[in-house]
């Protein structure tokens, strides 16, 4: 039986992403159930930097062994990572990756190079006699499916908040990965990295998301959404209508052509809850909605629905939150 491999992703500041710790936790639970070990790997561009070492140490809190792979090249994107992983999977049963843009790109290239199947956007996984059984949400959350790999091994991408990250009792051990050569994939050069405004809190990792829709009515309205997100320690999300109107960046869009999220709290301001948005957030832990329209579709699936003007309820909520003792 092969072991389980977790590919950790680094945040822009060099730390390990929260989602990576969840993926590692899921990997460890599969390894414990199947009686194997879980190995974590982070990729460093141009040598093992201090950040990569720190991220590997973070990963070691969750997995049995971890290493830094230095085969990613500076300035390049995901191709070298996928190529590097593909050489190391002969004795791996399951490769787990975060269901993020990089994770999906790596999974796709890795699957093509190895012929391993992909079960994507897992919301959970357990071990069975047939290998991992992967739980996924289908048709915009209308159905939950369980799937297996027909060969018993494959690649799994994991959604945020599928599991709660839980460290090991004792930290795992560092391991050295011999740098075998990797197949070469066509290189892509990163010419520039552009920051747009303040770096937004990632909605992937957020425990709380405050989201604005058409009812927010403009970029000024999003200040209220941002203020509430800050007061709650959450991230800012948006509907497609708000993004298309240019009020907020596409990276914050939740829904069918945006991201699918599962925070513990989803606070929806001026969002009607059309199916295209609903599919991106309906599995959230708690849903609170503020909308002037008592007949808005979100009234049917929110836990708490406030019929009111978000520009009146929002500031009142902000005041109430700020008045609370810490």
């Amino acid at each position: 039986m092969g072991h389980i491999l977790v590919v950790g992703e680094l945040a822009p500041d060099g730390s390990l992403t929260k989602l990576s710790t969840e993926v590692a936790t899921l990997g460890r639970s599969l390894a414990e159930a199947s009686g194997t070990t879980v190995h974590g790997v982070v990729f460093a561009t141009g040598g093992a930097s201090a950040a990569a070492t720190a991220a590997m140490d973070e990963l070691l809190a969750f997995v049995d062994t971890a290493s830094i792979d230095e085969r990613a090249t500076d300035g390049d994107t995901v191709a070298p990572v996928a190529a590097a992983v593909s050489t190391d999977v002969a004795d791996v049963d399951v490769v787990l990756l975060p269901a993020t843009p990089n994770g999906r790109d790596i999974a796709g290239a890795l699957s093509a190079l190895t012929g391993l199947g992909v079960l994507a956007n897992a919301t959970g996984a357990r071990w069975s006699a047939d290998g991992p059984v992967v739980e996924m949400s289908a048709f915009g959350g209308k159905l939950i499916t369980d799937s297996v790999f027909t060969q018993g091994r494959g690649i799994i991408t994991v959604r945020p908040n599928a599991v709660t990250a839980a460290p090991r009792a004792t930290a795992g051990t560092r391991s050295e990965t011999p740098a075998t050569s990797a197949p070469t994939l066509a290189p892509v050069r990163v010419v520039d990295r552009v920051e747009e405004g303040a770096a937004a809190v990632s909605i992937d990792d957020a425990r709380i998301i405050v989201s604005g829709g058409r009812g927010v009515a403009g970029p000024e309205g999003f200040r209220l959404v941002e203020d509430l997100a800050a007061a709650l320690g959450g991230a800012v999300g948006a509907t497609r209508a708000a993004v298309d109107s240019g009020w907020i960046a596409y990276s914050q869009q939740i829904g069918q052509t945006g991201k699918i999220v599962k925070p513990q709290l989803y606070l929806a301001l001026g969002i009607s809850g059309a199916i295209q948005h609903k599919v991106g957030m309906q599995t959230s832990g708690a849903i609170v909605a503020v909308n002037r329209d008592a007949d808005a579709p979100i009234a049917e699936f929110a836990d708490l629905f406030i019929v009111g003007d978000l520009f009146e309820v929002g500031p009142a909520l902000l005041t109430a939150l700020r008045a609370r003792p810490d």
Binding site: R104, I106, K142, D146, G154, V188, A200, V307
Partner: protein, 263 residues
């Protein structure tokens, strides 16, 4: 400039009628098919690039059941030059590995500077096929595009790839494979002239044999994944509706958050 758009007909997500068949596979006959949302943005970007260049062709490539020409026709009505449909009974129930292999083989038969696919599809949502095609065909892969800027003279293409805090500018030589997002821009509606013109445009049908692929390497019989069970999600608790004044409503929200230990 020649652009290939990889397009998938998907069950209309707005129909809310999608379901699995008794074999655990998506029942594609249950609801009408539409062009996958992200593929429509890819097509729109391709059409705009051709218009800006003043010359060129857009070929739409799809792997789908034989009934797919209807959705391909819509792409032609929007302005694509021709369609290529890879269809074969053996492909029913294909997994992403098969889809990747088939589309990669089909793409090899076409000449292009840029191929564009949607980052993912609304039915499977895996978002792994474009990267796989690029890996198999040795193409540079520029993903999550918000903007596509080819430089024909230099033979390169630049893409703004969406990042958590803004975007990265990627560059690669052409031919290259790009995956596109909604940030590429709202797709156009077919004009009446476009709809009329689409009738006479070519849709070429290609079989697995035409691509030199057999049922032992692709298709439902060699699927790498299988659905073994499904169930409805737990229904949410009934909604509590609050119609009080803003201060009272805010207090109720705070109480609710405190009850749930969210603050």
């Amino acid at each position: 400039m020649h652009i290939v758009v990889l397009m998938k007909p998907v069950p209309d997500p707005a129909s809310a009628g999608e379901r699995l068949g008794p074999d655990g596979r998506l029942d594609r006959a249950a609801v009408p098919a539409v062009i996958n949302g992200n593929d429509e943005y890819a097509l729109e970007a391709a059409l705009k690039l051709i218009e800006a260049a003043g010359e060129g062709e857009v070929t739409v490539l799809a792997m789908a059941p034989a009934s797919a020409p209807e959705t391909i026709r819509k792409a032609l009505a929007m302005g694509a030059t021709r369609g290529v449909l890879v269809t074969d009974p053996a492909l029913e129930g294909s997994c992403t590995v098969s889809t990747t292999r088939v589309l990669a083989a089909a793409l090899k038969t076409l000449e292009f500077d840029i191929a564009i696919a949607g980052v993912d599809t609304s039915d499977g949502q895996a978002g792994v096929v474009p990267a796989g095609i690029a890996a198999l065909n040795g193409l540079p892969y520029l993903s999550y595009a918000a903007k596509i800027e080819p430089d024909v003279a230099a033979g390169t293409v630049r893409v703004r790839r969406i990042s958590p805090s803004g975007y990265d500018v990627l560059e690669a030589p052409m031919p290259a494979l790009i995956s596109g997002t909604q940030a590429l821009g709202e797709p156009r509606y077919p004009s009446l002239k476009g709809i009329m013109g689409a009738r006479s445009k070519e849709v070429r049908t290609v079989s697995l044999a035409d691509l030199g692929l057999g049922g032992e390497s692709v298709g439902g019989a060699v699927a790498t994944t299988r659905v073994i069970g499904s169930r409805a999600p737990e229904s949410r608790a009934a909604t509590r509706v609050v119609r009080d004044n803003p201060d009272e409503a805010a207090r109720q929200i705070v109480d609710f958050l405190a009850e749930r230990r969210l603050i």
